[in-house]
């Protein structure tokens, strides 16, 4: 992939929360990722692995402890005041629960146009026309402009969420579990809509999800997170064939797919994700990895290139060239 197309780059982002005098919670540890124009980067992981903290830092809701976020060559973590506010128009979010993310007392028209009014891009009397244009874009009837969020179904609300994220013509849209609360058939429609809009407008998408199968279907690149660390970055295409990190494999084996042989024992990961408070040294995955060796308990593996476009952090894999 061409280096120049990276529109947003997270460099060594770390976020630590101090929870008491002697204990720190490490939500994100040294994360470096790139978002390319017109491409989708999927981020998978279980709950508590730091996905949400990571994207909150990207959208400047949370301030990172250390590290940089380069957007078009400038570090946006250093921005303040008006500049920081303006930056929000480049990065927009779509949330998991659209009912909570949409103000219940505003009409759809006002919700869609609110960002534009905030940035003084339109006048009040233009609202109607713009709302209708965006409703059409997300395939909803124009009459919806005068409705309230509670008049709509979950899928329709999520479309409003997408419309609101699009009005500012952002370069990056981050979807935080945007389809997790929806039925499968609705999920499929929303995904198709997102992908079509992405192709039309060449937007980059950061897609956060816990469903590794869905992520692999819609992402160009997938980053797998575990306990605040990226353990593997690989292309979304044929992800299940190339995945080599034991955690990624464990995730894949936990999926129930159609037409599965019932006699197959699910090769499950044992145990649960340990607490991110006061992490031990070494590999974050050591407590659940069946092959963990002494080395894994002492030194934390770094992300290394395994093949082109495929990075993995594991001591047990035969990789020579460090990145």
């Amino acid at each position: 992939m061409c280096e120049n197309n990276a529109i947003l780059e997270a460099q060594n982002l770390t976020k630590k929360f101090k929870i008491s005098k002697n204990s720190t919670l490490t939500a994100c540890d040294d994360i470096s990722l790139k978002f390319y124009q017109g491409k989708t980067l999927g981020i998978v992981g279980e709950s508590g692995c730091g996905k949400s903290t990571f994207i909150k830092m990207l959208s400047l809701i949370t301030k990172p402890t250390s590290g940089e976020i380069m957007f078009r060559g400038c570090d946006i973590t250093k921005l303040k005041g008006e500049e920081k506010r303006n930056n929000h128009s480049h990065i927009q979010m779509i949330f998991q629960n659209p009912l909570e993310a949409l103000p219940p007392r505003m009409k759809i028209r006002d919700i869609i146009c609110e960002p534009l009014l905030n940035f003084k891009k339109i006048k009040n009397h233009e609202k109607d026309e713009i709302a209708r244009k965006y409703l059409e874009m997300v395939e909803l009837p124009e009459e919806f402009a005068l409705r309230y969020p509670h008049h709509m179904s979950g899928g329709q609300r999520q479309r409003i969420g997408i419309a609101r994220a699009l009005v500012l013509e952002p370069e990056l849209i981050i979807c935080d579990e945007a389809t997790s609360a929806l039925d499968v058939s609705v999920q499929k429609n929303i995904i198709e809509l997102l992908i079509r809009l992405q192709k039309q407008k060449q937007i980059s998408i950061g897609f956060i999800c816990h469903d590794i199968v869905l992520v692999s279907q819609i992402s160009h690149q997938v980053a797998v997170m575990y306990l605040g660390n990226i353990v593997e970055i690989l292309p979304g295409k044929d992800l299940h064939k190339y995945a080599i990190h034991p955690y990624t494999k464990g995730l894949l084996h936990s999926v129930f797919y159609l037409g599965m042989d019932k006699s197959t024992k699910i090769d499950k990961l044992t145990g649960e994700v340990p607490s991110p408070v006061n992490l031990p040294n070494g590999c974050p995955f050591q407590s659940r990895c069946s092959d963990a060796k002494q080395l894994c308990r002492e030194i934390k593996p770094k992300l290394r290139e395994y093949q082109e476009g495929h990075m993995v952090a594991c001591h047990l894999l035969p990789i020579d060239k460090p990145v």
């Binding site: 709950s47 692999s216 299940h240 936990s254 159609l258 019932k262």
Partner: protein, 261 residues
Amino acid sequence: MFEFRNISVSYQTGNPVIENFSLSMKEGEIVGIVGESGSGKTTLIHSAMGLLSCGGKVTNGKLTFFGDSILDYSDEQWRNIRGKKIAMIYQDSGAMLNPIRKIGSQYVEFIRTHEKISKKEAWNKSMQLLEDMMLSDVDHVMNSYPFQLSGGMRQRVGIAMAMTFSPNLLLADEPTSALDVTTQAQIVRQMKDLREIYHTAIIFVTHNIGLASYIADRIVVMKSGKIVDTGTPEELLNNPVSEYTRKLLDCVPTLEGKRYV
């Protein structure tokens, strides 16, 4: 053993939420009920527990449990089978448990309402059941409040409680939907083992058709309160009768399936 015979359920508004639903369960059978939200899955199993809320009523048909029509049961009779012969697991057992009491004290109370045994015995019994659910450090679990446990642990506590009296029928309402995939895989395996150990029949309500096809002997697909398709997982996946099932199968993301980008 348990049979829904042509039942219809409606709430106050009058429109039936479930219409002419029939299903008969054999002992030790696992039936998966699949459908999208609003298809009446939860209403169905609440009706089997006699727990319909807000003026919900079975307006038509019969529910039989070992030949007895349970719809005619008195409150007293209901109390005898509920929790003991027919048990239920909820989507989030954390919400079922009392947040301000420790697991141990709730568990002991639950056992003692159904059985006349001493606190000590009840405590030991619950420890044993929790251990069977592969919870490590049972002492710690018994002395914790629900919020101190992870989602997977809470769900295991919920299952252990439901299995306390080896019920004949277990109603599971989306028991793994709120869990992470790795935990989900663990719990699903354990539920399959339950059938081997206790010979319990399970009605497994889920929206994940892939999961249903793994765990169930028979799948029922519901849409707007009606059965649209039924059969073994193989039959359903290979030759779905209804257009709706076909659509539903088509929407499920698969590893080798279509890529959008």
